[in-house]
Symmetry: C2
Subunit: 332 residues, 2 copies
C-alpha cells in the first residue's frame, strides 16, 4: 500500500526547503502519495485560521507529514499537529557535521523529548488581575512510554555511539520539581532498570553548564518537554545553529517531521535557504516508515554535500537551495 | 552601626572558600560583625535538619549572609534562605575573565532572575497514582518589582556595558506559556516602557541557541525563575564553568550571597578549591551594603590575580586556596 504523506510548506523558507525535501524523497524511491495542505501565518491571513480543520484531519489520517515552518503562528500550528499525529516523543539529533563550522565539533547527541505534557499540557488560569497559574502535568504512563522508546532506540543502536550498550542520560529538575520531575525521573529510571539499559541523570541546569564544556560525554538525553526544547536548542548552538537540524515527532502509527529552524524571514523568497534540515527530516520520515536503507542513502548524500559540495550562504557559500538540492539528489 | 553578616560555610569546598572570602572582607575594611551558622548535609546528619530554625532566624535578622554550598540538601537550604532574606531577584553575572580559558571569551552578561515564583513557588500535587501536577505561579507585582530593579540596574550603569542607556533582554516562553509568561513579559515590558528603558525580548529556547553562537549581542537578561536558573548556568559553561561565578539574592533590607558552584566533593578537604566565586560573592555583598569602593577593590584584586597571579587546579595551576586568597589580599 502506498504511504500517504501530507506536505505542509508553511511560511517563509518553509516554502523553499520543503519542496527540496520532496524532490529528494521522490528521487530516492519509495512510492509515496503526496498531499499538499496549508497552515501558518499566510493561511491565517487568508482563511482566519492558522491551522484549518481540513489540514488537521489530513495530518491525522496520513501515514506521515512533512512540515516546513510557521511564523508568528508557530505554536498554534505545531502543538495541535503534534497531537494530530499522536506524538509521544520528539526526536532531536544535534550533530556537528564534518566541514561545518561548529563551536563544539565533537557534539553528537540525540534528545528524546517528551512530547505531550509538562508545561505544554497548557492548563493556564488567570486567577486575579495580578496572578496567573499554569498547571504542569506529568504522568508515569507518558514517562514510561518515552522510556520504552528510549530503550528501544538505544538497543537498536540508533544512539550516536551506535552501540546497543550505550545508555542514556535523564535530564530533569527533580530537586525543585520533586513530585512532578521526581515522578518523571523515577518512571524513566524504572523502565531503564527493567530493560537493563544504563541510565544516569543530570539536573537540567548542571547539564546546561556541562554540555558546552564537554559535549563528548553525552549521547542520548531523555527529558521532559520544556527541558527538551531548551536543551536541544542549546545543542543546536554548539553545532552551528538551527539550519542543519531535523526533528521527528513520533506517534504510534503516524509522525510529523520538521526542521528545527523557523521561517528565516530575512532570506525567505530568495531561493537561498539551506535545505539540509528539511532533507534530514525527510530522512527521518523514511526511516520511520521502514525505509531504513533509503534514509541512510539520503543522510550519506547530505553529509557528502556538506563536506565537499555546494553550500548556501549560512555555511559561507553562495549556492542556491536548488543547487544544493540537485547536488544531494546527484549523490543518491 | 556595624552590619551583621551571617556566615554559612555549608558542605564540601564551602568550608574552604567561605573562610577565604571572610579573610578578604576582613582585609578590605568595613567593620562587620560576623556570626557563624550551620546548614547543609553535615548539619542534617548532626541535627536531623538541613536548615535549623536558628540558622533561618539568624539569616532573616542579619544585614546580609555569605553562604558557601550545600550537597544533597542544597534545595532544602537555599530555597528557604532566599525566602528568609526576602529576595525578589537573583543577580548572576557571567563574565569571561582575561587569562581564563573560556569557550566564548567575549561573554559578559548579567542575569536578573525572578527569585520567588514560577515553578519554584512549589505547589505540587499527586492527583493519582499516575499523575502529578505542579502549579506555576506568576504575578504582575513580582514581575514589576523585578523590572523596576532591572531598570535601576541599567540606569545606574551596572550592566556589562556600564552604559545607562543599555537596555535589557526579556527571555521567556510566552508562545507556549501564554498566560503566565505572557503576564511576566507584558509586566516587565510595561515597566521598561514607563521608565524609558529599552527592552527587547527573546524566546528562551532561541536564546539558548543564540547565546553560544554570539554572546556579544547580550548584556542584561531578565527572566522568570527557572529560565534564569538554566540560562545562567549555560552562560557559566561559556565562560569556563561555575568555578568563577558569584551570585546575589537581593532582598529589600537583606541579601544572601553565594558562589554559583556546588560542593565539589572530588576536591573537598584538600585546600585546593578556587576561592574566586566566593570572593566575588563577597564583593557583591560589599556593594549591596553600600561599600561600593571596597567592592570594586576586591573585584580588581581578583581580576589581577586571575590574569597574572597564582592559580588553582581548575584553571590549570597548582596553587592552594590559601595562596590564591593571600594573593588577592596582597593586592587590596
Ligand atoms: C514553536 C514552539 C511551540 C515549539 C516548541 O516550543 O515546542 C518550538 O520551539 C519547537 O521546539 O519545536
Ligand atoms: C540548588 C537549587 C535549588 C538551585 C536552584 O535551582 O535555584 C541552584 O541550582 C541555583 O541555581 O542556585
Amino acid at each position: 500500500m502506498t504511504d500517504e504523506i501530507v506536505v505542509i510548506e508553511g511560511d517563509g523558507i518553509g516554502r523553499e526547503v520543503v519542496p527540496a525535501a520532496v524532490d529528494v524523497l521522490e528521487s530516492v524511491g519509495p512510492d509515496f502519495e503526496f498531499v499538499a495542505a496549508e497552515a501558518g501565518d499566510a493561511t491565517k491571513d487568508a482563511t482566519g485560521e492558522a491551522l484549518p480543520d481540513e489540514t488537521y484531519d489530513l495530518v491525522a489520517d496520513a501515514d506521515a507529514t512533512l512540515f516546513g515552518a510557521a511564523g508568528e503562528t508557530a505554536a498554534d500550528v505545531i502543538l495541535p499537529l503534534r497531537e494530530a499525529v499522536d506524538s509521544f516523543v520528539n526526536v532531536r539529533p544535534a550533530k556537528a557535521f564534518p566541514g561545518v563550522d561548529a563551536l563544539r565539533p565533537e557534539t553528537d547527541v540525540v534528545f528524546l523529548r517528551e512530547n505531550t505534557e509538562g508545561v505544554y499540557a497548557g492548563h493556564e488560569d488567570r486567577l486575579s488581575g495580578d496572578l496567573s497559574t499554569l498547571t504542569r502535568v506529568v504522568t508515569s504512563s507518558a514517562s514510561r512510554e518515552l522510556a520504552e522508546y528510549a530503550c528501544d532506540f538505544v538497543e537498536d543502536g540508533r544512539g550516536p555511539a551506535g552501540d546497543p550498550d550505550e545508555g542514556f542520560t535523564i535530564a530533569h529538575k527533580a530537586n525543585v520539581m520533586r513530585e512532578t520531575d521526581g515522578r518523571f525521573r523515577d518512571a524513566v529510571a524504572a523502565v531503564a532498570d527493567e530493560r537493563g539499559v544504563d541510565a544516569d541523570e543530570e539536573l537540567m541546569d548542571a547539564f546546561a553548564t556541562k554540555l558546552p564544556l564537554d559535549p563528548g560525554q553525552y549521547g542520548v538525553i531523555v527529558c521532559p518537554n520544556l527541558a527538551g526544547d531548551v536543551l536541544s536548542d542549546l545543542a543546536a548552538g554548539l553545532v552551528g545553529g538551527l539550519g542543519l537540524l531535523p526533528s521527528a515527532n513520533v506517534g504510534h502509527d503516524n509522525g510529523l517531521f520538521e526542521p528545527v529552524h523557523g521561517t528565516a524571514p530575512d532570506i525567505a523568497g530568495e531561493g537561498v535557504a539551506n535545505p539540509t534540515a528539511a532533507v534530514l527530516s525527510a530522512a527521518m520520515l523514511l526511516e520511520h516508515l521502514g525505509h531504513v536503507e533509503e534514509g541512510r542513502l539520503v543522510r550519506d548524500a547530505v553529509e557528502g554535500v556538506l563536506s565537499d559540495g555546494p553550500r548556501t550562504g549560512d555555511l559561507g557559500g553562495s549556492a542556491t537551495t536548488d543547487e544544493v538540492t540537485a547536488a544531494i539528489v546527484d549523490r543518491l
